[in-house]
């Protein structure tokens, strides 16, 4: 892989030149950030954190910070896009200019357009789209800080935001990526591992129904490795699912406890 060097001032050149770390995983199978091979990054989730959207959620997974907001179901604007027998699900995945090391232009990039489509297809199976004909449900995912696996974390929060908006769903969708780094099969790759590794496999899963709604792979894996990595990702999704459920219940559980104390 070659990189076309950009013009930079001398000062910046010295700061930005990041050497690729020699080894991403050391001899004791410990990763650069101290995690074991099958360990998820620390996940913190908050639901209903925005006042204006119908539903919202926020996630911090490792260094990722991602917001999701949902509006709907409501009338479709522009009108001609309305469907007579179902709702229209629209999704926008966007990275804030300050979310990455080098300022990212606010205009939608090809990658963001693709991820918007991919995320929409990952959450659509969980919604009962036939319940509300001639309406639209708009999902916005805003990445405030990115460190690998943002599409997965984005799907996780989008699903919670939909539940927070009171939209009937078949199941929550949890997403997690697994892959191969330095020859080892690992769970939840961060940015360095994703860029420097051999394969990355994002997966989105509706746990109760055991249904996969997103499966992508970027890199090289043998058929055997693929199956192992897939199972690893499923395991990660199930862990994230429990965090999702707790976050959703948190508000009500807290009130119940406060009341019971009185």
């Amino acid at each position: 892989m070659f990189k076309i060097p950009k013009r930079k001032t001398e000062k910046k050149r010295l700061g930005i030149l990041q050497k690729k770390p020699e080894k991403l995983i050391d001899k004791n199978n410990v990763r650069l950030d101290g995690r074991k091979l099958d360990e998820l990054r620390s996940v913190k989730i908050g639901v209903g954190i925005l006042a204006n959207a119908d539903g919202s959620a926020y996630i911090e997974q490792g260094k990722n910070k991602i917001l999701a907001a949902v509006y709907g179901p409501k009338e479709v604007h522009p009108r001609h896009l309305a469907l007579p027998d179902r709702t229209v699900l629209r999704c926008r995945y966007h990275m804030a200019p300050f979310s990455v090391q080098e300022r990212k232009s606010p205009a939608p990039s090809r990658r963001e357009i693709e991820l918007s489509k991919v995320i929409r297809e990952a959450i659509e199976p969980s919604i009962f789209v036939e319940y509300y004909p001639r309406t639209s449900i708009d999902v916005f995912i805003e990445v405030l800080q990115a460190d690998g696996g943002t599409r997965c974390a984005g799907i996780t929060v989008a699903s919670l935001a939909l539940a927070d908006a009171g939209i009937p769903m078949r199941d929550l969708v949890a997403a997690c990526a697994a892959g191969k780094v330095d020859g080892h099969l690992v769970l939840d790759l961060n940015d360095l591992e994703d860029k420097g590794g051999e394969a990355d496999l994002p997966l989105a899963l509706m746990s109760n129904l055991n249904a996969i709604t997103l499966l992508q792979m970027d890199g090289d894996l043998t058929v055997n490795e693929f199956e192992q990595v897939l199972n690893l990702a499923v395991k990660g999704c199930k862990e994230i699912y429990t965090v999702q459920k707790d976050a959703l219940k948190a508000k009500y559980v807290a009130v119940k406890e406060a009341v019971e104390e009185e």
Binding site: F128, Y132, P133, G166, R170, D171, N208, L209, K256, V259
Partner: protein, 230 residues
Amino acid sequence: MSTYFEKRQLVVPGDLLAEGKYRAGDNTYKDDEKIYATRIGMVSLEDQTIHVVALKAFYVPSVGDTVIGRIVEVGISAWIVDISAPYPALLRASDVLDRPFNPRKDELPAIFDVNDLIIAKLVAYDRTRDPLLTVREPGLGKITRGQTVEVTPTKIPRVIGRKGSMISIIKEETGCQITIGQNGLILISGKTPEDERLAVMAIRKIEQESHTSGLTDRVTEMIRKEKAGV
């Protein structure tokens, strides 16, 4: 034939509630003999039917409901009304006037203008059309005094209480006139702004703690404490 929950347990979308010959009630769905929840709420079993009382949901129009709406647009022969639902509602001019609408003689904004609040009844609604309202019956029409509070529509039954117990207590203790819209809007009209404030406080408390028990007593206590404190 088995259920997987305790009485009034908090469930989230996708939770497996029961398996076997049960019926799927509100906010649940059946897939292959299994019943799952579709919204966050409290689950209960009644008469072989599994229900989930949703803790947060938007209003889905139902024919016969009394709703409180806000005029958002004055059209040529009808008003468009916001009833806090996924669809805007329609109020025809012919419904308000006893005679057929005459564009030359009648002026719609003089009857209801943009941002006016009205109490209306839902007369028609199906998958192909937006909901239709009427103000023909007694008690319906423009709202002239009071303030409105918005709660999530699934909590309206809790605000009313068993056989109206909760709402009667609030009316008694605050001396306010209260009209409840099934779409989550509640109209409070009291003798003083202070009375109205107490009623609003009580309703907010019910909304927050609707999933707990002993609420009626706590609400009564709260209102009395507030009145004494003032």
